[in-house]
Structure formats: structure tokens, C-alpha cells
């Protein structure tokens, strides 16, 4: 594991980028995943997240991306398709308040690893991230 400057983090199980316009949700995800030993980086919308991923010549070392759907500026649907095209090795989880089967199906077809609906229990979120980490090793 490396931090954003490429320095290895001994105690971290991996780095997760959570993208959600709701502070409530970012706080929840950060609390849950920090407890499970992950490092969490937060972005408020798709635009900010893309900016963070592309910043400098050393793209942010992120292991898993957790993305909301309904967000201002660049929304989740656009952000997901961007990440799938530009960073195909980074597994993307969708975490949304929309229990929408059509939307879930179309996102899974784009290569989204899991479609999670809020509220999600801490253990379930941690398990989903853990399983996504395996996808990363396969793809990378």
C-alpha cells in the first residue's frame, strides 16, 4: 500500500476514494472503513474526484472507488463511465440511495463491481470493499 505521495502505509489495508455530495454519507463511509483498517479519501462530486485522480503526474494511488449517483457537477453515471475508461484497473462500487434495478443492471454492465444501497451495515460495506480489492489484483 502507498499513500498519495507514493509512500507505503504499513497499517493500511488499502486506500478508498469515496465520492458523495452528502457529508452524512462521507462521514458514515469514512467511519466504517477506517474502523476496518482502510484509509479513506473524500470527494464531494464527480468533478472533484476526477480532478483528484488526475492531479499531477502521479495519479492518486487509490485501490477502490465508491461512487454515489445523484450528485451535482459530474454525476455518478458520468463519473463511473469516466473511471471505467481511464482507470479500468480500479474497481468501482456504487453506493446510492436509489434502489433502482434498471440503473443497477446498466451500471453492472459497465463493469461496476457492486451496487450497494444506503443504508448499509458496516460489516457489509467492509466486505464489499474487501471483495473489490481482489478484483483490483486480478485486473492490475
Amino acid at each position: 500500500m502507498v499513500d498519495m505521495f507514493g509512500i507505503p502505509q504499513k497499517n493500511s489495508r488499502g486506500r478508498v476514494l469515496v465520492i458523495d455530495d452528502e457529508a452524512d454519507v462521507r462521514k458514515s463511509v469514512t467511519m466504517a472503513l477506517t474502523k476496518s483498517g482502510y484509509e479513506v479519501i473524500e470527494a464531494e462530486d464527480g468533478q472533484q474526484a476526477i480532478g483528484m485522480m488526475n492531479s499531477g503526474d502521479n495519479p492518486l494511488a487509490v485501490d477502490v472507488i465508491i461512487c454515489d449517483i445523484r450528485m451535482p457537477n459530474v454525476n455518478g453515471i458520468e463519473a463511473v463511465s469516466y473511471f471505467r475508461a481511464q482507470y479500468p484497473s480500479r474497481p468501482v462500487l456504487v453506493l446510492t440511495g436509489f434502489p433502482d434495478i434498471q440503473l443497477a443492471t446498466s451500471l453492472m454492465k459497465q463493469g461496476v463491481v457492486d451496487y450497494l444501497v444506503k443504508p448499509i451495515e458496516r460489516e457489509k460495506l467492509a466486505a464489499a470493499v474487501e471483495s473489490a480489492m481482489k478484483h483490483r489484483s486480478k485486473a492490475a
Binding site: R70, P72, G97, K118, P119
Partner: protein, 343 residues
């Protein structure tokens, strides 16, 4: 009377019965109310008649003598046994009179029709809420998620200060959920016989927008408000809100959750006006002629009932108002709601 001419009706008695008749006749194309009379100056039907621009009088004899040439039927719902003789004395042209048990029968039918219509309006509201469910779930699930995370964290937290902080955050999150539920409850409330009160169009538009935002997955609408102070109308708040919800939801859905929405209100010439303009794809001319028809819809199954605009029009007309639409393909659609001002 030539068949097909509108029936010109005079209503005597402006209590509950007379008012119901007036309401029904005012929206019946084949019936014209030439006047309504009641001894009681504060009778609800007289007030309603003034709002509908129907001649209202406290003097039965005077109303008959003024309007008899253009009247084809007198309906007596005063319940006053002396009224029959009084009408006979002033009814020199021999206009047909409906009174006694036949007038009561008519009143019963009218009441029944009003109940059925109220139930249809209610059914449409509930069906609309059905199309909002994903959006409502989304807005409730966000704070609910925080509540769950904080509670989970409290389970293995022993620091009292942290536990107190979490509890405070939970209270705030629950308040946000309660506010969402309250908004829905206000909209879903069933009412059909409440008194009319002053309703502020600015508030109705804002409340409608909150609900309409539930109708789409994306919420990237740029809202511009251009409100005047107190554009108030007399009506039932639930009905005015239903009109606004139906129009604003159409606008939000037409834009697929993305575009510019302009909400404005005006007070001029005794009218209070609300204008809702979207930047959606617009409505083709051949469709524009049918949008107020019952059960006409261009939405996919599950997204609309085909009753929204029909009911909006029925409610607006009931309050003596007008609903107008203009649309340009590729540019957007503008709805204008105009009511007699109560301010």
C-alpha cells in the same frame, strides 16, 4: 329553447346545497348560472359566486325580475316552505321550477359527484407519490445511513463525549427525515370539504419543487425564482399544491432532471399568476391540443397517470382561474396558472 343551447339556471339558496350546485354548474359546459340568491349576506355560495363572476343577490324577487328573460330553470334549494309561493308570485313568465324533493334529489347527486371527484383527485395524488418512491427513498436513506453508522460506532465506543456527539448527530439526522415525511403527509392529505383559506403561490411552488425533485434520478436542475410578495389565492391548500406539483413534476421529468427551471409569480389586474418554465424538449403541436384530456400521457408506464394536467385544469377552473401553456420544440415549455387574487 333550441336543443343544444346551454341551460340557464338560477339558484335560490346559497348554503351548502346551492354552493355545490354552483361549483358543478360552473364547470359544466352545457349549463350557465345566471344568478344565485340568498337572504344571508355571508352565505358561502354568494361569496363563491362573486369569485366566479356570477351575479349574486340577497333579494330573490329582484334576481328573478332582473334575470327572468334569460333563465330556463329556477332551482330552489332554500329549504324554505314559503319560497314556492314567493317564486310563483314573481315568476310571471312561467319559468320551470325545481324544488322540494326533486331539488333535494339533485343536491344528493351533486354531493355524490363531488365526493367521487375528490376521490379521483386523491387517487391521482397517491399515484403521483408512487412515481416519487425512488427519490423519496434516496432522500431518506442518506440521513438514515448516518443514523445507522453513528449507532454502530456507539456500540463499541466508551468515550462519553464521543457518544454524546454521535447522539446529537443522530437527533439532527432524524429531524431531516421527519421533515421529508411531513412534506409528503401534507401533500397526501385527503380533503374535500374544508373551508377555503388564503394560499400563497410562492410557498406552493417551493413545496411542489421539493416533491417534484423526487421524480428523477438526476438532480441537476438550475432553479431561478422570480417571486413577488404575497401572490395569494383563496382555495384549499392541498388542491393548489396538487396543481403546482403536477406542473412542476412535468417540467422536471421533461428535462430528465437536467436543465433550467424558472418559477415566477405576479400580481396584476386582480389576478395572482404563477409561471413555470422549463428547458425541456418542448411539446409538439399535435400533442399540445390533447395534454389536458383525461388519461392522455406521453410518459412511459409507471411515470404518469395521464390525469395530472386534467386535474390541474379542473382545479384551476373551479377557482375561477385559467391555465395556459406555450411550448417550442427543442426550447422548452411554459405553463401559466392564473387565479383571482385574494391579496
Amino acid at each position: 329553447m333550441v336543443s343544444g343551447d346551454p341551460i340557464s339556471v338560477m339558484i335560490l339558496g346559497a348554503g351548502t346545497g346551492g354552493t355545490s350546485l354552483l361549483e358543478l354548474f360552473a364547470r359544466s359546459p352545457g349549463v350557465q348560472v345566471v344568478g344565485i340568491a340568498d337572504k344571508d349576506h355571508d352565505a358561502p355560495g354568494l361569496k363563491r359566486a362573486r369569485e366566479l363572476n356570477v351575479p349574486a343577490s340577497q333579494d330573490v324577487a329582484d334576481l328573478i325580475s332582473r334575470s327572468r328573460d334569460g333563465t330556463s330553470l329556477i332551482i330552489d334549494v332554500t329549504g324554505d316552505p314559503a319560497m314556492a309561493g314567493f317564486i310563483a308570485k314573481h315568476n310571471s313568465l312561467g319559468i320551470q321550477v325545481l324544488d322540494g324533493v326533486t331539488a333535494r334529489l339533485l343536491w344528493n347527486l351533486v354531493q355524490h359527484e363531488a365526493r367521487i371527484q375528490a376521490q379521483l383527485f386523491q387517487a391521482e395524488k397517491l399515484a403521483t407519490i408512487g412515481t416519487f418512491t425512488s427519490g423519496i427513498a434516496h432522500d431518506i436513506n442518506n440521513p438514515l445511513y448516518l443514523v445507522m453508522s453513528l449507532a454502530e460506532d456507539m456500540l463499541d465506543e466508551s468515550e462519553p463525549a464521543v457518544i454524546q456527539d454521535h447522539a446529537r448527530d443522530i437527533v439532527q439526522a432524524v429531524r431531516r427525515i421527519a421533515a421529508i415525511v411531513k412534506g409528503l403527509t401534507l401533500y397526501a392529505r385527503f380533503s374535500w370539504a374544508d373551508d377555503l383559506v388564503e394560499v400563497d403561490l410562492n410557498g406552493a411552488l417551493d413545496e411542489a419543487l421539493k416533491l417534484a425533485r423526487y421524480a428523477t434520478v438526476l438532480d441537476e436542475i438550475d432553479v431561478a425564482r422570480d417571486y413577488v410578495a404575497r401572490p395569494v389565492v383563496r382555495g384549499r391548500p392541498e388542491e393548489i399544491l396538487q396543481v403546482c406539483v403536477n406542473i412542476v413534476t412535468n417540467a422536471v421529468q421533461a428535462m430528465n432532471g437536467r436543465g433550467a427551471l424558472r418559477l415566477s409569480t405576479r400580481r396584476e389586474d386582480g389576478m395572482a399568476t404563477a409561471t413555470i418554465a422549463d428547458t425541456g424538449p418542448g411539446i409538439p403541436q399535435d400533442v399540445l391540443d390533447k395534454i389536458f384530456d383525461p388519461f392522455f400521457t406521453t410518459k412511459e408506464p409507471g411515470k404518469g397517470t395521464g390525469l395530472g394536467l386534467h386535474i390541474a385544469q379542473t382545479i384551476v377552473k373551479k377557482y375561477g382561474g385559467l391555465i395556459a401553456v406555450s411550448s417550442r420544440e427543442g426550447r422548452g415549455t411554459t405553463f401559466r396558472l392564473q387565479f383571482p387574487s385574494a391579496g
